[in-house]
Every structure is written in C-alpha cells, then in structure tokens.
C-alpha cells in the first residue's frame, strides 16, 4: 500500500516526465488548465502551471519546447544529467546510471539510442521506483546518485530560461519537487551510495 504523499510524488514525477519528453498536445493542455491549488506550496505551483497553460496554445508550446531543448544547433538547455555533471555526454555518470537501471530491471527500450539520463527518463524511473519497484532506501539512493547532483540546477535554469514561458512554471514545479525530495529523504536513514 502506497501512502498518499508518496503517490503524489509519483504523480508529479510522471507529470514532469510527460512535459519534459515532449511539448503538451491540446488534450494535455486541457487537463493542465483544470489543475487547481489548495494553498499548499505544491498546490500553488500546480495552479501556476494551470495559469501558464491557460495562455498557451499547442503550436506556441511546440516552438517553446524546441527553443529550450532542441534549438538550431543547440537549444538553450541540455536536459541530460551527464551534460550538467561532466560538461559533455556519455560520461561516467551515464555508465553508473546504466548499471543502476539494469539492477532495477529498467533497461531502455530496444532500438532507442537516446542516453538514459534525459531528465524525463529519470523522472519516469523515480515514479516506477515509488510505485513499487523500490523501497524508500532505493528511492533515496537513486535520487542522490542520479538527480540531486544536477536536476535542481536544471529546473532552476528552466525557470529562468530566456525562451521559457509555460516551461518556467514547469521549472518551478520541478525545483519544488527536488527540494521536497531532498528534505524528505533527510528523514530516511542513509544508504551507502
């Protein structure tokens, strides 16, 4: 049985994974506009996301996504962990990640050539861990090894990125979740990395 707070973490990870893997389509935008807040910090961020979705169209979001992450030659941000950690791709962090994902039975889809350390893939992996593949210690270890070192900076950069409108709200929510994860895991006894 998964606690509501942990289910909420998984929901947010999945939401972030979805929005960071591709720009939201019209149906997703409709759902985003329906998000409501409740006065809590996370509620406020979700309300901000709803507000940002209300003034955005799918076409503009495609362009924003492209400008931020793909760009001509290079987008504004590189959403891969090894880039943030090592300054280039396919480095040691990626090798560590591959090993850890293998241990968890989370290998990448056959034929996929994209590195596994895309922020969307890592958020997806956290959701899977929370929803049953890993206990709290395993979640903490994975977070500390593969997200904590760079994802907070990535989300902060996303929040401030020049091209970010809708995605500034995504960055804010992501930064919030990273902070809550770090502080939440502080309650959990350390696991050797």
């Amino acid at each position: 049985m998964i606690a509501p707070e942990d289910q909420g973490r998984a929901y947010l990870y999945r939401l972030l994974a979805r929005l960071l893997a591709a720009a939201p389509d019209a149906a997703t935008l409709g759902l985003l506009r329906g998000l409501g807040g409740d006065g809590s910090p996370v509620g406020g961020d979700l309300q901000g996301l709803a507000g940002a979705a209300a003034t955005a169209g799918p076409g503009a979001l495609e362009r924003e996504y492209h400008d931020l992450f793909i760009g001509v030659g290079r987008g504004e941000l590189v959403p891969f962990g090894s880039w943030y950690l090592a300054g280039f791709l396919h480095e040691k962090p990626l090798a560590h990640l591959r090993r850890d994902l293998g241990t968890l039975g989370l290998g990448r889809t056959a034929g996929t050539k994209e590195p596994e350390d895309h922020v969307a893939s890592l958020c997806e992996a956290m959701a899977l861990l929370i929803e049953g593949k890993g206990d709290l210690g395993a979640q903490k270890a994975f977070f500390e090894r593969h997200l904590e070192g760079w994802a907070p900076a990535f989300f902060a950069d996303l929040e401030r990125a020049r091209a970010a409108r809708f995605y500034a709200a995504v960055g804010r929510l992501g930064a919030r979740l990273m902070t809550l994860e770090r502080d939440g895991f502080a309650f959990v006894e350390g696991v050797a990395a």
Binding site: A3, P4, E5, D6, Q7, G8, R9, Y11, L12, R14, L15, A17, R18, A22, L31, G34, L35, G37, D38, S40, P41, V42, G43, G44, L46, H66, F69, I70, G71, G73, R74, P79, F80, W83, F88, L89, L106, R108, T109, T112, E114, P115, A120, S121, C123, E124, A127, L128, E131, D135, L136, G137, R176, L180, D183, G184, F187, V188, E189, V191
Partner: protein, 67 residues
Amino acid sequence: MRDGKDDAAPRARRRFLKLAGLGTAASGAALLAGSGAAKAAAPAATEAAKGYRVTDHVRRVYDLARF
C-alpha cells in the same frame, strides 16, 4: 531502510510531505500522470519518455558528442 509502521522517521517524513501538498494537491495531477491504470500505463509511459518522441534529442546528442 524499510518503511516501518512504528518508525517515527517515516511518519515525520510523511507529515512533512503532506504539509507541502504532496498528499492532496498533487493528487490533482493524477489525470496527467498517465491513464487511470497505473500498472498498465507504466511500461507505455516509459517507452513514451525514452522512445522516439524525443528523436530530435537523439540527433542533438550526436551533434553535441562531436566535440
């Protein structure tokens, strides 16, 4: 460490997360977290995140890896 029932730390952690809104507010994101059936959706969602919806990323990775 296991998520022990009689352990104070996990309870304190949940209380902390609940105050932040991860219990109630975040449940509003359920509809956006994939289709209703979480278990059935998990592998598909993984493929979506890792598969060819991010083809442009793949191209860019190769561009970036060149130097």
